[in-house]
């Protein structure tokens, strides 16, 4: 181990962390956004659900290296362009996320949706004000998995010359230099952990009812209120 190497290469480490973030944040966000309409569609039609889930499984089965070569060939871009990695990671994110999104929308209580319709929500209003927020907790659980998987998967991009934290593994392997490999692993873990914390905080911010409901379920005292005029 060469602890001094870390101190001497802080700039390099910092730069690769930023590159890693820049490469992984867009696929996570785009994957989530695209999975919402697809997941909603899958939750409403059995045929759509089967097709989308099978497609997702197929995409997820393609080896990462193969996909990284395939994307520029299919889209006609340069093979070393970082965009290839973003596209490939987006496809993986989407492949994983469609299933979560389909389950998330399927889990929205039917009577709440029907009740919203009965009191005069239009289909669009109902989607944005009722179904999407109520699908939120399951969507969040899904995107947390996708986030971790994307952050770790991005390292593979280094093999095709796209600079990120994975580049440390390649260097370490070629130079038989353990310290660099360790730095890469820890940095990937830290990025994944930070992403997860950010997602959880966003979830709490956007879905305040979720926590309070859970708290109420754990603590029945919250349900007890003084009777109003002798009735409760």
């Amino acid at each position: 181990m060469d602890w001094g190497w870390i101190g001497r290469n802080l700039d390099l480490i910092g730069g690769r962390v930023l590159e890693h973030v820049a490469l992984t944040a867009p696929p996570i966000v785009i994957g989530l956004v695209l999975s919402i309409p697809l997941g909603y569609w899958a939750s409403r039609s059995r045929v759509a659900r089967s097709i989308l889930l099978v497609l997702g499984n197929i995409v997820y089965t393609i080896p990462a290296i193969a996909l990284l070569v395939l994307v520029p060939v299919l889209l006609g871009g340069a093979i070393l362009d970082p965009v290839n990695l973003v596209i490939a990671l987006t496809l993986y994110a989407l492949a994983l996320m469609v299933r979560s999104a389909a389950d998330a929308f399927a889990a929205v209580p039917h009577d709440v949706v029907s009740s919203a319709t009965s009191i005069g929500y239009s289909a669009w209003q109902r989607f944005f004000a009722v179904e999407l927020p109520l699908a939120g907790p399951v969507l969040l659980a899904g995107i947390r998995v996708v986030s971790v998987s994307t952050v770790s998967l991005a390292s593979v991009g280094a093999l095709t010359g796209i600079e990120n934290l994975g580049s440390f593994f390649i260097d370490a392997f070629q130079r038989q230099f353990l310290t660099e490999a360790l730095v890469g692993i820890v940095a990937v873990l830290v990025v994944a952990a930070v992403f997860d914390v950010v997602l959880q905080l966003l979830g709490r911010l956007l879905m305040p009812w979720n926590r309070r409901n859970r708290r109420a379920a754990e603590n029945p005292a919250l349900l007890r209120t003084p009777p109003i005029g002798g009735v409760a």
Binding site: V112, V130, L222
Partner: protein, 301 residues
């Protein structure tokens, strides 16, 4: 007034939920559709706000065929209160009550002011305004549901077995609350129930339905009780089992001037005042049926 004209509903698989159903629902009265499950009572009610569109026949509100109305607009003008309250679990009590007024463009401040008024009307403390539905008891949730139904001040209120999931004591309170609110606001209420006692308590008009939405009997509770049209009605209201035919128990000693009443099966069901051994005559006008000065306002259902 709401009018059903030979309405039928057949689903794609061929099941007839409702067959040739005709009924007049008077304005500013409570009409209870009562029947066992599968009688089509909920389907009939949901045709009023176009949650179900009839296969044939028409439903008219004040002479206007609802099929000509845009469903979303139509629903915003009709209060809807359902079993398990149907509240939005991710919205606070106050937001749930203001949701429909907000959809129709009422300002936030006005909607909130009205919501606080309504919370008072339905007997909810202001301090509950920021709670989420899951933080309320079942009875409180139903009260919020009633407040939400009243929020746009609709002429028509549809109530779909609203109190069937709460415990009997709370149900009793909520039923009394409906009668009190109705005495004040005089809405056209269509109430669906499978509980004949609830129907007799709340209904100005009670409509007993059998499978397929067939009306077996309609009338005031007194009329139905005094003269059940068929064996089905007699069984349904419990007359056959002697549940409705009460006699003074001769074996139980009198409590002061009160005597114990027993039903046909000999089970004690109540107490009757008999000062000096004579039965007293009661006032036959229940609270809910005392809005008579408002009966003939045609065209305002």
């Amino acid at each position: 007034m709401i009018e059903f004209r030979s309405v039928s509903k057949t689903y794609q698989d061929g099941t007839a939920a409702v067959e040739d159903f005709s009924l007049e629902i008077p304005a500013r009265r409570i009409t209870v559709l009562v029947g066992s499950s599968g009688s089509g009572k909920t389907t009939v009610m949901r045709m009023i706000n176009r949650m179900v569109d009839p296969t044939s026949g028409t439903v008219e509100i004040d002479g206007v065929d609802v099929a000509t109305r845009e469903p979303v607009q139509l629903r915003r003008g009709i209060g809807y209160i359902m079993q398990n309250s149907g509240l939005l679990p991710h919205r606070s009590v106050l937001d749930n009550i203001t949701t429909v007024p907000r959809l129709t463009g009422v300002s936030k401040a006005d909607a909130r002011r009205r919501a606080f008024e309504l919370m008072e009307v339905v007997g909810l403390e202001r301090s509950l305004a920021d709670r989420y539905p899951s933080q309320l008891s079942g009875g409180q949730q139903q009260r919020v549901g009633v407040a939400r139904g009243l929020a746009v001040d609709p002429n028509i209120l549809l109530m779909d077995e609203p109190f069937s999931a709460v415990d009997p004591i709370v149900r009793d309170e909520l039923q009394q609350e409906v009668l009190r609110i109705q005495a004040e606001l005089a809405k056209t209420i269509v109430f669906v129930s499978h509980d004949i006692d609830e129907a007799f308590l709340l209904g100005d008009q009670v409509v007993v339905l059998e499978r397929g939405g067939h009306i077996v009997q309609q009338g005031t509770p007194t009329e139905i009780l005094a003269n059940p049209a068929t064996d089905f009605v007699a069984t349904f209201i419990g007359a056959e089992r002697g549940k409705r035919r009460l006699v003074v128990s001769d074996s139980t000693p009198a409590i002061g001037d009160d005597r114990v009443l027993v039903d046909g099966g000999g089970y004690p069901v109540g107490i009757i005042a008999a000062p000096g051994g004579r039965l007293e005559a009661g006032n036959p006008n229940p609270k809910s049926r005392s809005v008579s000065n408002k009966t003939d306002q045609a065209g305002d259902a």
